[in-house]
């Protein structure tokens, strides 16, 4: 009797003494001032970007979200592992938050790292409805730093998102001002010969594809932590300090190539999960991805954080300085990339088996160097000892792709192939099955789909709780798609076996096939989509239903919990 009493008292106490934290967010109409234009937008707690939410691994959070808009809203906790009713996708996780209503999200924090949150309703996210999440680990971080800053990027466009969507549907190249011109024809002709340039133009014209189709949405102002290049967000440091920069790409459409001239960056985390540290000079951050880097500026000077858009049509800029107001040089934008025929490798009618660069077996071999023949090493050039430098190549781009990024200083540019988990999250095991997802679309109609079917016509993808599935992404379009699976981790196959990095968003480059595996360990239904706002809205979206699992009996509780939150 006594024992049960004690146990009972303890169990009552545990939630009370266990970590519990309450947060309040209001969803508000805000003004976003880029210094070039002022836009009405959506923000949190009166600002865009919203606040940095600091959670601690192991705590139970409740977040009261009050909708001050005159339309429905929602918050999705991007990258967080939580019960599906708390995932914040209207129509899939819950009905959404009505105007004037307060909804209370409640979930345990079972992970650590850098994440973000955003609205999953309409176009509120590109209108500014996003913020960042920092989760402190229970134990120590496997790296050291003296200071940290969130560096949250976005691509603020002067047009409303509704208008952007409509313009893209009506005129898909509406915003593309990096198209090939007569001038470029002549400069190409003088470089590569007149006939071969004519041939090339005819080949692309025959396909009705544009080599310049690299960035759908141009004309934006790149923003860092709500500041435009002019407004120059500045992070202060003391020389010699290690600074952890938590980069989050909250853009609607824009990939950024990030560098800090004069500083080497050590990538220690990707998508919230620690990776074995990699020293780089530059890295590309896909839409919705996060990368944590550590830098150590030793000199008392300013350093520019330069985030150049992949299509070189715009940039974001911030500064690390020892005091406010210091500035460093802002680099020029480089020449825009042009697609090559290699990037068309995935277009229908082409033989996927031929696709070089992404052959899985090869990658594993390169990586582990398992098959290396030592006898051949005798022929190696010992004088230089550096690996032979070919043209830019990256196993996650088609071989000969025009999109392969290179570092501005000629140094190291991060590749997905460099990402290795710091600590494997799951036991390595064989997937039960493979699911092929062809990423499809039609640029001239601005339709985007998976396996040729838009979300409106699609059946859900059904997974079984407890299985491990292997997703095969085949990109048959000429655009890069950052694919985001909610609720469960995306273990990106870089050929490193148990060290494969664990992500929440996986970029699939044109003309490539990328594999990821997922441990289906979260029941319920989840969203799975391209995180480019206008691709998602145009149909590149799926619902994933996880059948079975410990919570299957409470499947109907979504209604209940949303009601419970409704009248707080």
């Amino acid at each position: 009797m006594k024992k049960t009493l004690v146990a009972g008292a303890l169990s009552l106490l545990i939630p009370a003494i266990g970590l519990a934290a309450e947060y309040n967010l209001t969803v508000d109409r805000v003004k976003i001032d880029t210094g070039e234009f002022v836009k009405e937008g959506v923000g949190y707690n009166g600002k865009s970007p919203g606040p940095v939410l600091r959670f601690k691994e192991g705590e139970e959070v409740s977040i009261n979200v009050t909708n001050n808009l005159d339309e429905m809203t929602s918050i999705h906790w991007h990258g967080l592992i939580l019960p599906f009713e708390q995932d914040g996708v209207p129509g899939i996780s819950f009905p959404g938050i009505k105007p004037g209503e307060t909804f209370t999200y409640k979930f345990p924090i079972t992970q650590s790292g850098t994440y973000w949150f955003h609205s999953h309703s309409g176009f509120q996210e590109p209108e500014g409805a996003f913020g960042s999440i920092i989760i402190e680990p229970e134990g120590r971080e496997p790296f050291r730093y003296d200071r940290e800053y969130v560096v949250q990027l976005t691509d603020k466009h002067p047009h409303s998102s509704e208008r952007v969507m409509r313009n893209l549907k009506v005129t898909p190249d509406y915003y593309n001002r990096k198209q090939q011109t007569v001038g470029e024809f002549f400069s190409d002709a003088s470089e590569n010969g007149f006939l071969s340039t004519v041939k090339e133009r005819l080949a692309w014209g025959g396909m009705r594809m544009m080599q310049a189709d690299v960035e759908d949405l141009q004309g934006f102002t790149g923003m860092i932590n709500g500041k435009s290049p002019k407004q120059n967000w500045t992070g202060i440091f003391e020389p010699g300090e290690r600074i952890r920069l938590r980069f989050i790409n909250s853009s609607a459409m824009t990939y950024f190539d990030i560098r800090i001239p004069g500083l080497e960056m050590t990538v220690v985390q990707a998508d919230g999960n620690n990776v074995q540290p990699v020293n780089v000079d530059e890295f590309r951050i896909g839409v919705a991805e996060t990368y944590d880097v550590i830098v150590r500026p030793k000199d008392e000077q300013a350093y520019t954080i330069f985030a150049e858009s992949k299509g070189r049509s715009g940039y974001a800029r911030a500064t690390l300085a020892t005091e406010e107001g210091m500035e460093a040089a802002v680099p020029e934008l480089r020449e825009p990339a042009r697609l090559t025929m290699a990037d068309m490798g995935g277009m229908s009618g082409m033989d996927h088996g031929d696709m070089p660069g992404m052959d899985h077996g090869d990658m594993a071999e390169n990586d582990e160097m398992a098959g290396m023949d030592h006898s051949n090493m005798a022929n190696m050039d010992h004088g230089s000892m550096a690996m032979p430098e070919a043209g830019p190549s990256d196993p996650f781009y088609a071989e000969g792709s025009g999109l392969v990024p290179t570092a501005a200083n000629g140094g190291k540019f991060l590749s997905y192939a460099d990402l290795k988990a710091q600590k494997p999250l799951y036991e390595q095991r064989e997937p039960a099955r493979e699911i092929e997802l062809r990423l499809t679309g039609n640029m001239e109609r601005y339709t985007w789909s998976i396996n040729g079917v838009k979300y409106e016509d699609a059946d859900p993808i059904r997974l079984k709780y407890g299985e491990r599935v292997r997703f095969k992404f085949v990109n048959e379009t000429m655009m890069t798609h950052p694919m985001h699976l909610h609720g469960m981790w995306s273990i990106l196959d870089v050929g490193a076996g148990q060290w494969n990095p664990v992500k929440h968003t996986v970029s699939v480059q044109p003309g490539t096939t990328v594999y990821m595996e997922t441990e289906v360990d979260a029941s319920g239904q989840w969203a799975f989509h391209c995180h480019l706002t206008y691709h998602m809205a145009a149909g590149m979206f799926r619902k994933v239903i996880v059948e079975g699992g410990p919570e299957s009996t409470q499947a109907a509780s979504s209604e209940q919990s949303s009601n419970a939150g409704g009248d707080v």
Binding site: R140, P142, F143, R144, Y145, R242, E264, T266, V267, V268, Q276, P277, V278, N279, I294, R296, E368, M369, M372, H374, M377, H382, M385, A386, M387, K420, Q422, K423, A496, W499
Partner: protein, 177 residues
Amino acid sequence: MISPRLIVAATAMSISFTAFGGGTHGGGHGHGANAGEPGKAGDANRTVSIKMYDNYYEPETIAVNPGETVRFVVQNKGQLVHEFNIGTPDVHEAHQKEMMMMVEHGAIQGGKLNHDMMEMDMGDGQSMKHDDPNSVLLEPGESAEIIWTFSKQGNIEFACNVPGHYQAGMYGDVNFN
């Protein structure tokens, strides 16, 4: 003794993996501090246990008396290859470039050392052996001993120069009493 070693070290700096043996060559770099020199077991008055995790040390600072000889017992408790290397920050930085090559050539593969690769003759009698007396390179689960005589005051760190590890914070400070 000093000057020939110095010349060798300076000329071999960019290509050699074995030139960082004694502390005697340190004078040519940066803060002008010697890390010290290999010690004799009999001179060690105390043992300091260093545990290497992914990617940090425990402890992260040690205090020594100038001229003290310390016996380090280094254990790799992580899942990745780690190094314990005593030197000045500049020496570490130079050494990191060579460790980078070891990774590029497959001598270090995440949690494994490829000893064949390390033994391989790289020409000019060099190899990636990594058998300097001021450092040990350990696979997960391995442990080793270093006996080191700290010569004098200076800016000395113990560090793991596996690419990225030092930058991520896998280093410790040697404080002189």
